[in-house]
Symmetry: C2
Subunit: 322 residues, 2 copies
């Protein structure tokens, strides 16, 4: 039996897309079953979009940049779905990413679709639903998907693991301020964009960009065939924003279809194993006997009263009822 959402979804109906995403976000068992069938049906219609990830701390101008960039894309005849990952988001609870006033102009565009982060307590769950929302957006005809995150927990890695190209948005800064960037994030970057390169900050932004450029040479590129770039822009004045697409275009040409296909295949396989591992650990953690033991074992391990290997063995014995 075909899901009634399938036809309108594939035809590009926006309400059908929104409803489909709500369906995959549901935790009800019957919804989950229906969602899985719908995902299986749309799968052949996915994978044709440009998948971009963007991260940046609050205040860096992420929304303004995505709005400007999105409007510029739409002006070139493209379409854009913006999805968010924020494991701290609570629907209706005042999450920044769920803020309705964001990207007001972009959200009025027919060729744009903006969806706040699904609610959820684990990054794994939030990431899975965002990945699936990306597939639904692609099936619905969007040729560009941007997954954005404010960078809570390990969310940058989660985003980088689901997109083709990862963009890190930074503020103009110098010297010791550079220290503030979260560990590991710079190494994920295919492109660093120093925003707010306008007015008094323009010179600082240019200097920051040069610093980052210099420092990037120390790190191996996350993407074979591509050397990460650093640019400045001003989301507010629009300077440098349209040029970002030129870089995206260059990235896809440099990495090539085979390179992108290879990355996506790796991502999918890793995602599968991740789901398997998380499910197994989740079951272990929910086992009543494990629940009873876990606090004491963690404490004993942390205080050197038992070796981690012995503690792990006890936990597994409890799980298997031995």
């Amino acid at each position: 039996m075909t899901d009634p959402l399938l036809e309108p979804l594939l035809a590009g109906d926006r309400r059908a897309l929104a409803q489909s995403i709500t369906l995959i976000e549901s935790t009800r068992a019957d919804h989950r079953q229906r969602a899985d069938a719908l995902l299986a049906a749309v799968l052949p219609h996915t994978g044709k979009s440009v998948r971009l990830g963007i991260t940046g701390v609050p205040g860096v101008g992420k929304s303004t940049l995505i709005e400007r960039f999105g409007l510029s894309l739409i002006g070139q005849g493209r379409s854009l779905a913006v999805l968010a990952i924020d494991p701290s988001s609570k629907r209706g609870g005042g999450s920044i990413l769920g803020d309705k006033t964001r990207m007001e102009e972009l959200s009025r565009q027919k060729a744009a679709f903006i969806r706040p982060s699904p609610a959820g307590t684990t990054l794994g769950g939030v990431a899975r639903r965002t990945r699936e929302a990306m597939l639904l957006s692609e099936a619905s005809g969007f040729d560009t998907v941007i997954v954005e995150t404010v960078g809570v927990g390990q969310s940058e890695t989660a985003v980088a693991d689901m997109v083709d190209m990862f963009i890190v948005l930074l503020l103009p800064a110098g010297g010791d301020d550079l220290q503030g960037i979260k560990r590991g994030v710079i190494e994920l970057a295919d492109l660093i964009v120093v925003n707010k390169a306008d007015g008094d900050l323009e010179a600082t932004a240019k200097r920051s960009a040069a610093d980052y450029q210099h420092a990037l040479r120390m790190l191996r590129s996350p993407t074979p065939g591509w050397i990460p770039e650093v640019v400045t822009c001003s989301a507010q004045t629009g300077k440098g924003v349209t040029e970002l697409w030129t870089i995206v275009d260059r990235f896809y040409k440099a990495v090539g279809e085979m390179g992108i296909a290879h990355r996506r295949a790796e991502q999918a396989r890793a995602w599968m194993w991740n789901e398997v591992g998380e499910t197994l650990l989740g079951e272990l953690r929910r086992h009543p006997e494990v629940k009873r033991l876990v606090g004491g074992l963690e404490n004993d391990v942390e205080n050197g009263r038992i070796t981690p290997a012995a503690a792990a063995r006890r936990m597994l014995q409890a799980f298997y009822g031995r």
Copy 2:
């Protein structure tokens, strides 16, 4: 019943230490049981050493540096156990780390103990045995432990996750050569040592060090309370080698006893959960029905014929015999 190895081990008998490590490296079930009991018995006598990790590609001069550094430590009245992690090592198969001619002078010292990497196919297994060898070395009275790795697979992360301070040894290089460093390794470094700062290469080494220093500002320190440093040295001439201990000393003072205790507690807890996860996944992978399915599912996932979540579900259903 007390293990006959326990008393001589705690008394600092070198043969007892070597035999104890051989015991924990054994995969025989009865040996494993004996090893676990021995580890439980020595645990109260562990944790008092300075735990250092060192990584560097072949050719960087790691052995020469460790030998020089070790002899200098021993000259100051300290004792040193050098353990290695190399998941590609096959005992007797010509591994670089197992090379008997390495650190010849150091190995003749009474206050030194050098042990090549345990053989093994998985990093997890090799790492566990090295961690346990570290505990045995501490129980045997060594006040300094160096865990070294050539950096195969994720072995740098494994080493950083079992030591207090992680040192990255690099060659003098400039410009694009810097790109060659493995992703993520620089971010683990509490100390970068540019070796071979002698003769013609001295100026290049100094320039490299300045470049790394500059670039390090971009990355957050792996260790709260400590700002990573970059120094040059020459393992061959000995210049700068003795000074390394001054930095180690400064590191321990800056991080503090509480900081070190906190790091070790975190490491132990993470190790426990890692063992639990690896054991569960290992059991799943060995299940005959999973074995039958896994190749096809990985292939389907990589080629976008099935979603990773659906593939994970099938694998778990096969595992549970549903």
